[in-house]
């Protein structure tokens, strides 16, 4: 008797599941009316959680502003569908496949880490769905194909900016470079720094390798210390950078430490007082008096109750560029939106967003000095460097 009831119950549940499964299909086909679906994938959990959370928050803020202003294409609202890739490249391509094939999104926003953008980009290219990376700076990301765009500068430029700052402003002549061999971003940035610094006439010691997730860097740092460099570059991401800086200071290394935009993340504060005398290149400065920037900082603070970082600003810009392209193409079809994106030229929080032939934007970089105060990292504006 009891068994029977259980069987009936499970049948009912099965039927209900099937009924639910069908529903997205019926609404998905009606793309000419109703909400405009935009996908976003990011590392909401895992090692790179700060990247995913910041970029998604930035995009959410942009979407909210656009919807409050009346939506797009004659009053249609944008709906942002967010997928978590758990900071894993294979999950990134799964997430994008789901967004495109099941949710039938118009375009995809993401990822921050170059390695994950490189994993998911080919999927977008295959389905002719435009992808806009907020913050992947590795050169190869937009080379995947003509559907892949980004709203940040690229590593050859970032490496040049960092190397020049170390040589001209910090007067370093001999530098060490620590690179994360698991991250395309770190490897690309290392190459760029090496090239520029040597061209300036400086000496670059043989790059030292580590892997994402390592926690003990004292052995490699001791080797670096023995070679007495004037400055050290750490080209990986914030979780390791914070620990590297701490352990370097613990070994008595007081030299300036430089990093790229990959240092921007909540766990950087693990570096604490050791972050003094550290410099990073970044996409934007919250101190910029430009009303566009200040307005963004104010609304972001009001909505999320924290200071926006540069990744959040780029997430915001990525969503704004996409919205502009949907409006100017007057369409939600991938190829048409793509063509509009290729011609995009809109003002952004992080600078003017004008797509070039490589689907990159030429934007200035800022150098910031890090300070640890009141239990958090402060990014102090030093200088802006424009692309040539």
């Amino acid at each position: 008797m009891k068994f029977h009831r259980l069987f009936v119950l499970s049948m009912v549940m099965l039927a209900a599941t099937i009924a639910c499964e069908r529903r997205p299909g019926t609404t998905g086909s009606a793309t000419s009316t109703g909400d405009i679906l935009v996908g976003m994938y990011g590392s909401l959990t895992g090692d790179g959680a700060s990247f995913g959370q910041s970029s998604v928050e930035g995009a959410q803020l942009a979407v909210e502003e656009l919807n409050n202003a009346g939506g797009l294409l004659g009053g249609r609202k944008i709906r942002l569908l967010v997928e978590d890739d758990q900071s894993k490249p294979d999950e990134a391509s799964n997430a994008v496949t789901k967004l495109i094939t099941q949710d039938k999104v118009v375009a995809v926003l993401g990822e921050v880490a170059s390695r994950r953008s490189l994993a998911a980009g080919p999927v977008c290219q295959k389905y002719q769905t435009p992808m806009i990376s907020p913050a992947s700076t590795n050169e190869r990301v937009t080379a995947i194909g003509d559907y892949i765009f980004r709203v940040c500068f690229i590593d050859p430029f970032q490496g040049e900016v960092l190397a020049k700052f170390a040589y001209n402003d910090l007067k370093a002549r001999k530098v060490a470079v620590l690179k994360d061999v698991q991250q395309d971003y770190s490897v690309g940035l290392t190459d760029a720094i090496q090239k520029t610094f040597q061209a300036l006439g400086g000496e670059v010691l043989a790059p030292v390798s580590y892997s994402s997730g390592d926690a003990d860097f004292k052995a490699i740092l001791t080797q670096v210390r023995a070679q007495k460099p004037d400055a050290m570059f750490v080209t990986g991401y914030y979780p390791e950078a914070a620990i590297i800086v701490r352990q370097a200071r613990g070994l008595g290394m007081k030299i300036p430490v430089l990093g790229g935009d990959g240092w921007v993340g909540d766990a950087l504060k693990n570096g604490r007082e050791a972050l003094a005398n550290c410099f990073i290149s970044n996409h934007y400065s919250g101190d910029n008096p430009d009303p566009v920037v200040q307005n963004f900082v104010k609304t972001y603070r009001a909505k999320f109750n924290r200071e926006p970082d540069s990744i959040a600003a780029l997430g915001y810009d990525a969503a704004k560029v996409l919205a502009a392209a949907i409006t100017s193409s007057n369409s939600t079809e991938g190829p048409k939106v793509r063509d509009a994106l290729a011609k995009a030229d809109v003002p952004g929080v992080t600078g003017r967003l004008k797509m070039n032939a490589q689907r990159n934007v030429d934007k200035p970089a800022v150098i910031q000095e890090l300070k640890f105060a009141d239990g958090d990292v402060k990014y102090v504006y030093r200088t802006t460097i424009n692309p040539n």
């Binding site: 758990q86 043989a206 580590y210 926690a215 080797q223 023995a226 620990i243 693990n270």
Partner: protein
Amino acid sequence: VDTFFQQFINGLSLGAIYALIALGYTMVYGVLRLINFAHGDVYMLGAFAGYYIANALNMDANPSILGAIAVTMGAMAICAIIGILIERLAYRPVRHHSRLTSLITAIGVSLLLEYGGQVVFGATPRFFPQMIRSQVYAVGGVQITNQNLLIIVVSVIVMFGLQYIVHQTRIGKAMRAVSFNLPVAKLMGINTDFIIAFTFALGSALAAAGGVMVALAIPRIDPLMGLMTGLKAFVAAVLGGIGNIPGAMLGGMLIGLMETWIGATAYSTYRDAVAFAVLILILLFRPAGILGTSVTEKV
């Protein structure tokens, strides 16, 4: 020369971490002939227990040594209970089955804690509050932070403490009896279930102490932190001779020094591979480990 000594100190402070965890592996193995693969995850739970206690006490804003000791004690107590529960719920029901059953159960418990941890704590790394402000001591060109010094000192104290417990106390005698022959120990009136539970509690408390101390030096904790560290500590225990307490210490230090030495060469990214290559070599050529005595088993 400075560099050499610095690397030696680096190796010791890394090795002390492995040694502390290896002691737990070795103790459980010594008593039960069970490789408790969940041990590395208990170390993770210790770090998380410390994290929650320290945040409840608001240690980040008011660091103090006394507070740090209280946090460590609290984490040890919590993990001792967890250790007893793991033994009671997972290992005791299968104790009388083959050893392979226990081993697979241990792997199951390990996976449960790792991925259960991801559900409960989230997969995102947390920042461990700084309970003791870091300080750098320098002797000549050799530098060490107070946190790393603490790890080395504590692991040595713990090793001697364990030696004392196992060889000089009544409960230690009972542990050795259980290790020697469980059914006979039971016939002699020893409460074997209690002894085994005690062994798990002690080993888990040590793992918790290790977790808190490591989190002090490297303040990033996540549910998978025990995976690699636990495996390396296991290698250390086998290298030193599993079941042998000074062996675990020696093995841990050797693995730490070896990793540091590899890390200082151009092959720094191969250091994990080297630790496991050592395991294979040890198992091939000296399965009893460095300090272990090989016993020929009657078949």
